[in-house]
């Protein structure tokens, strides 16, 4: 998180869902706010001091950091949707989803925003190079890419990436209902169903014990597959 990149940050809102992220949350949202971006931190019913720390960070950047809190844990998808709604209410032009566990580089934000600002895309997915991933993760993500293609008919480089960007118009059209990690594939489905122009940008991913602990592994992958099958029969 070092490269200082100048960019017009007006109207750019980063939605950061956080569940028990007390070790990283302050640093991440303060770093983002320091660069001039707006941050919507969604505390998803954390049992640790994530909410208190986020509130402390808001004291330092009251006009840049916005904090909302789910009273109980509702999952990644639910937190992202809440954050996107808050960002839209605050007049966001561009909305970027950003993980709170420290796996994303802040210097990638201008890169994922550029296709939107240039009018080349309505939605952007930051693709993590699979060769940088630990083997178990890259395999699980390959399987998820295949499943996303089979179920939703869209082939993307990294269907499970947490770094995505949308124009406000695209964000208003996207309606995700998955509450858990299945939301990543559902974003692809919505992008496809709503005929949004998609761009994929290669991003850097930082692998630490914290970032490896969460995300898509075999168990999460199986849960997402189950959800995809059930969604086929959703009335």
């Amino acid at each position: 998180m070092s490269n200082e990149i100048s960019q017009n940050t007006e109207g750019i809102f980063l939605v950061v869902p956080a569940y028990n992220e007390e070790r990283t949350v302050s640093q991440i949202i303060e770093c983002i706010a320091e660069r001039g971006y707006n941050v919507v931190l969604v505390n998803d019913g954390s049992a640790d001091s994530t909410l208190e720390l986020a509130t402390e960070s808001k004291r330092k950047y009251p006009d840049k950091i916005f904090v909302v809190s789910h009273v109980i844990n509702r999952g990644l998808g639910a937190a992202l949707k809440t954050g996107m709604m808050v960002a839209l209410n605050k007049g966001a032009k561009y909305i970027i989803t950003f993980d709170a566990d420290g796996q994303h580089e802040i210097s990638d934000i201008p890169n994922v925003c550029k296709p939107l600002q240039d009018g080349e895309a309505d939605a952007v997915i930051g693709s993590r190079p699979f060769e940088d991933m630990p083997l178990s993760k890259s395999f699980a993500n390959l399987v998820m890419n295949a499943l996303t293609f089979i179920f939703y008919g869209r082939n993307v480089k990294d269907s499970q990436s947490g770094l995505r960007a949308f124009t406000a118009e695209a964000a208003e059209k996207i309606d995700v209902v998955s509450t858990g990690y299945g939301v990543s594939s559902e974003f692809i489905k919505e992008i496809s169903d709503k005929n949004l122009r998609l761009a994929e940008v290669t991003i850097t991913t930082i692998y630490t014990p914290e970032t490896q602990h969460k995300g898509t592994d075999a168990i999460v992958g199986l849960k997402i597959l189950g959800k995809m099958v059930i969604d086929l029969f959703r009335i």
Partner: protein
């Protein structure tokens, strides 16, 4: 096993039916269910009892569906009902889950953390 004029499964069915009907009756009294739902369940139980006490009558019906014995038809029908109930429960729980998420979201958005309010407390 036969006890008096009844087979044991027939006695068990009567006991389960009485418990289920009392349970439904209480739900209607407490306004948790409608009298129409109560009537529907009574009819369902009467049909089940009818076939339990006169299994031979179900044989022609079983033949119509391609089963050789009435009992086979009842067992398969029972499994189908249970599978359907499971599916209905899944949909209901999923809807409840979604409603809960909507509620939690609404509360979160209405109560966005405000520094001024905190200072007043």
């Amino acid at each position: 096993m036969i006890i008096g004029p009844f087979r044991i499964y027939q006695i068990l069915l009567i006991i389960v039916m009485i418990i289920a009907i009392i349970f439904m009756y209480n739900r209607v009294r407490n306004k948790r269910s409608t009298p129409a739902t109560f009537a529907l369940w009574v009819v369902v139980w009467m049909v089940v009892l009818f076939f339990a006490f006169a299994p031979k009558i179900s044989d022609p019906l079983a033949g119509f569906f391609g089963f050789s014995r009435g009992l086979d038809l009842l067992i398969i029908a029972g499994f189908a009902v249970i599978a359907y109930a499971g599916f209905r429960f899944y949909i209901k729980i999923d809807n409840l889950n979604q409603n809960m998420t909507d509620l939690v979201r609404e509360i979160a958005i209405r109560n966005e953390i405000q520094l001024d309010e905190e200072n007043d407390e």
